[in-house]
């Protein structure tokens, strides 16, 4: 028996108090035929020492951004995380507590969440934020559900090809059995054209959903999209990037009704895709349609300011089948990380990171575009990320070669966009040095030089 919390002697005493003769007896309510006769077939238990060695071995079989140079993006980014974020998130009062049902013993979590909500509201220019949902994609899906229930429109949802394809897939999955259609406006130029959008929207459209900067790293015209949506009586949902708001106008400022984001960039490690942070903010008038927990300020019985979960009648544990969503456990620890990150960065820090991303990505894009073999797939301004086209159309070979040189060079786009199967997406965060960018460009140039026989 691995870890002894109660000894055989304790167990005997406890059984006696219960009036049972054995632990076995406590399970007698489970009919024999439903019980396992033998034992589970699984590998033998490791001790902590063995676990450490085992996990180090597994970890060593993964290339990671600490050793390889990471230019991957597409929704998850290798941004710098100050040590202070880890220090706070590893306070066990934060990470071993749970949803703050009892406010008297949860003011730490409640206040931190209230602060997180305020930070999100300020960053996005929206009125209210919830306490988090799972990730950017499910936040987008929840926003669409919100828009549907708010507008009560039976019609379709309009989105764009320049929105993260996995987010669109997620929305599609959420809507699959609700009888709603999704119209995806193609974006052959890498951004959404106003006329194409206007064509897709009609008076049955519940919402328009776009991404800024978009999946290709390019800058969309959010205001015009807002205009089009609002003119048709639809809501505008904007998927934003929190770091980009160090430079860009906020979704609220541009007319969004609901703003959602992947919050991973705010102090959360890449962790092969999760756990991340679904950020969700909206206009005040929509708050009662918002899913998830919300913390509100109030006073206690002595009149002292304090915080508590509020507006719970939206939630599944009160409203059950009438709830705005089924969400229960959310991403509390990552909302905390985001709050710590934002508090550390402050306005100047956030702007600084956004600027460094801009300049480094522009530099990388220019240099890559200057090679013989590679070019930029789209015109127009980009921020942290851009699409590279391989004139030889051998994206996998290129990336494999880069990887053997210790560079995670980009995300191939063919899986989602067959028409872009000669393209890959390159992201450049503030962590990338000129030296690293130059090494990428050099490696790509060398591949330009090599003449490859057609496959």
């Amino acid at each position: 028996m691995p870890y002894v919390y109660n000894t055989p002697d304790d167990q005997r005493q406890m059984l006696q108090a219960i009036g049972a003769s054995s632990i076995e007896e406590l399970f007698a309510v489970i009919p024999e035929e439903m019980r396992i006769s033998g034992r589970l077939d699984m590998p033998p238990a490791l001790t902590e020492m063995e676990l450490d060695a085992h996990m180090k071995r597994l970890a060593s079989e993964n290339q990671h951004a600490g050793e390889a140079v990471c230019f991957l993006g597409a929704g998850s980014y290798d941004h710098f995380i100050p040590a202070a974020v880890d220090a706070i998130a590893s306070r066990s009062e934060f990470y071993t507590s749970y949803t703050p049902y009892q406010p008297e013993v949860s003011q730490g979590n409640l206040q931190a969440t209230f602060e997180y909500q305020t930070l999100v509201a300020r960053l996005t220019g929206m009125d209210v934020s919830n306490a988090s949902v799972y990730d950017g994609a499910s936040a987008a899906a929840e926003a669409v559900l919100m828009a549907i229930s708010t507008t009560s429109r039976p019609g379709h949802i309009v989105t764009a090809g320049s929105v993260h394809p996995e987010y669109r897939q997620t929305i599609a999955t959420y809507l699959r059995h609700l009888g709603k259609d999704i119209v995806t406006v193609a974006t052959p130029d890498g951004t959404l054209r106003a006329d194409s959008l206007a064509q897709a929207v009609d008076d049955q459209t519940a919402c328009v959903l776009i991404q800024q900067p978009n999946f290709f790293g390019a800058i969309e015209d959010v205001e015009t999209a807002a205009q089009i949506a609002h003119d048709a009586g639809a809501l505008l949902i904007v998927i934003f990037d929190p770091i980009s708001l160090g430079l860009l106008r906020s979704p609220g400022d541009c007319g969004a009704d609901i703003a959602v984001a992947e919050g991973q960039t705010l102090g959360t490690p890449m962790s092969y895709g999760g756990p991340y942070l679904g950020i969700m903010a909206c206009k005040k008038k929509l708050v009662r349609r918002m899913p998830g927990r919300i913390v509100g300020q109030t006073v206690d019985r002595h009149g002292r300011r304090c915080f508590t979960l509020t507006l719970q009648t939206r939630e599944q544990h009160i409203r059950r089948e009438k709830a705005t969503s089924n969400i229960c456990t959310n991403q509390g620890l990552f909302a905390l990380r985001a709050a710590v990150y934002a508090a550390l960065m402050g306005p100047e820090g956030l702007r600084g990171v956004a600027e460094l991303c801009l300049h480094k990505a522009c530099y990388a894009a220019e240099q890559i575009a200057a090679t013989e073999r590679f070019s930029l797939a789209f015109d127009g301004p980009t921020w942290r990320e851009f699409v590279v086209r391989d004139s030889q159309g051998r994206v996998d070979d290129v990336l494999t070669q880069l990887r053997s040189e210790g560079i995670l060079g980009g995300v191939p786009l063919g899986r989602w966009y067959p028409e872009l199967d000669d393209c890959f997406l390159v992201a450049v965060t503030e962590k990338r040095t000129k030296e690293q960018i130059d090494a990428l460009v050099r490696a790509l140039s060398q591949q330009s030089a090599t003449v490859v026989a057609p496959a």
């Binding site: 071993t96 931190a112 799972y134 019985r301 544990h317 480094k360």
Partner: protein
């Protein structure tokens, strides 16, 4: 000795010009931002974030943390939440750079270690559940429910338009967790509930009344939220199957039956796990969790993409699943949580897991034996991993409610149990001690409860007395709805 200056709101502590971070100088040729981005998309000013120094940030959040109760500091018998101890070894291995600094879109060849881990985790979960096909994608139990219901819906659709049109209802006992009905609606079903019997289990008459071929899925929590194993589980499952429906097991209470009974063996076609509960998460102050689901072979084609497969000795994400429901989130899943789950399962092994459940049930029954002399436990004197007592009688006699008891327990150094859930018991107090607590702690908890019941009711009604704040005005919170910082409020 509390530092009350440090716990003012970040926005109150902010002071223009304070700086916690420094960024490197730009080492590439920089242009004016306006030359690189269109002016009309640029913000007029940097975002309105607070400005603090690093010591201020650290002191603020460190002091905030001390206002929480947590598993590492307190007994936390929050029913239905399985607040067990979270072994530190899991945290250490999950923080290895080769686990955490990995980008989700790295090619499969570059993450074989992680994929192997996740693949082996799938196998262990399948073994525990008895259901062979696994998706690790869902981000929490509730999303696991949704994913499974969408899987079921796609399955029925795949059976033809008639079947798809018929299967419109999800049936759930009234003691179910709120996520079950909410998930049903989100997945496009209608929702109907089954009454509980006075014994706290499914009322078979009501069940039979409601069972017909419109039922797509029966969602059942077993052991249920009263901590009782449904005695007619097999009968229920068989009946549903006979009508062509599917059985979904809400796995939130798996901590009672690990290595003892497998959901597949009592008729489940689908289930989720809550690794943040059963496999020591940790809970993260409200998350993250994960919600892996296991399903039968014939439901496997409908699981979300990608599916993690093994070809000879290499692991691969398979996106080519034409019948798949798609995906319910971006990327692979809550991998950080799953890595801890794997560590937990590997350090327990078969015997260890069985012992987890044995001791979870022993602890619950022991505490039940001590509590039932103080408060009625309407559903009998045996339970699985948790039990539900009722303060209804106490309330009628002394006007001490379940909530009052909960609040007063805080003064004794205990996190309160879950109160007012499940809804089927009046003034319910749902106690789940978990296996990682010692007999001494259980005794101390029962002693405290006994003492409280003997205390001046007025004093108990005003508890807690030892916390920084006491009894927030929730009505005011909802009415005024101050959900972001408003200076001066």
């Amino acid at each position: 000795m509390r530092n009350q200056q440090a716990t003012r709101l970040l926005f109150e502590l902010s002071h223009p010009g304070r700086r916690a971070v420094r960024l490197p100088a730009c080492d590439v040729p920089a242009a004016r931002v306006e030359d690189r981005l269109p002016e009309h998309v640029l913000a007029d000013a940097p975002p309105n974030m607070p400005e603090l120094s690093e010591p201020e940030v650290i002191r603020h959040f460190t002091n905030l943390s001390t206002l929480n109760m947590s598993v590492d500091t307190h007994f936390y018998p929050l029913g239905s939440c399985t607040m067990k101890y979270n072994p530190k070894r899991n945290e250490r291995v999950a923080a290895l750079p080769g686990m955490i600094d990995v980008h989700p879109l790295q090619p499969d060849e570059s993450v074989q270690g992680l994929l192997k881990l996740l693949y082996d985790l799938q196998a262990i979960l399948a073994e525990i559940s008895g259901l062979p096909a696994v998706s690790l994608q869902p981000a929490a139990g509730a999303q696991g429910e949704l994913t499974a219901l969408l899987t079921a819906a796609s399955y029925f659709r795949d059976l033809g338009p008639e079947e798809a049109a018929r299967r419109t209802i999800v049936l759930t006992p009234d003691s179910a967790h709120g996520t079950n009905p909410a998930s049903a609606i989100m997945a496009g079903f209608q929702f109907e509930k089954i009454d509980s019997s006075p014994a706290g289990v499914v009322d078979m008459d009501d069940f039979r009344r409601k069972l017909d071929d419109r039922i797509a899925v029966l969602m059942i929590t077993n052991p249920n939220t009263l901590g009782l194993f449904e005695p007619t589980m097999r009968e229920i499952a068989d009946a549903v199957h006979e009508k062509g429906g599917l059985v979904y097991l809400d796995g939130a209470n798996m901590n009672a039956i690990l290595g003892i009974a497998r959901p597949a063996d009592f008729g489940a076609d689908m289930q989720h796990f809550n690794p943040h509960k059963t496999f020591s998460g940790p809970h993260g102050g409200g998350g993250p969790g994960a919600g892996p689901i296991c399903v039968t072979e014939h439901l496997a084609p409908f699981l979300p993409v990608p599916v993690l497969v093994k070809d000879d000795d290499t692991y691969r994400l398979d996106y080519d699943r034409p019948k798949s429901i798609g995906r319910v989130r971006s990327f692979f899943g809550n991998v950080g949580v799953l890595v801890r789950t794997y560590a937990y399962l590997r350090t327990h092994g078969a015997e260890g897991l069985r012992s987890v459940s044995e001791n979870a049930v022993l602890n619950a029954n022991y505490l039940l034996s001590r509590v039932q002399s103080l408060l009625p436990v309407p559903q009998g004197n045996r339970c699985m991993h948790e039990f539900v007592a009722s303060a209804a009688k106490l309330k009628s006699e002394t006007n001490i409610s379940a909530m009052d008891l909960a609040k007063r327990l805080i003064d004794y150094g205990f996190h309160p149990p879950t109160v007012y859930f499940p809804l089927t018991v009046r003034e319910s107090i749902m106690v789940e001690p978990t296996e990682t607590e010692s007999k001494e702690t259980l005794d101390a908890f029962a002693d405290a409860l006994r003492q409280i019941i003997g205390e001046d009711p007025e004093m108990v009604r005003q508890a807690p007395h030892t916390t920084p704040i006491s009894r927030p005005d929730e009505v005011r919170a909802a009415r005024q709805s101050v959900v972001t910082y408003q200076s001066g409020r």
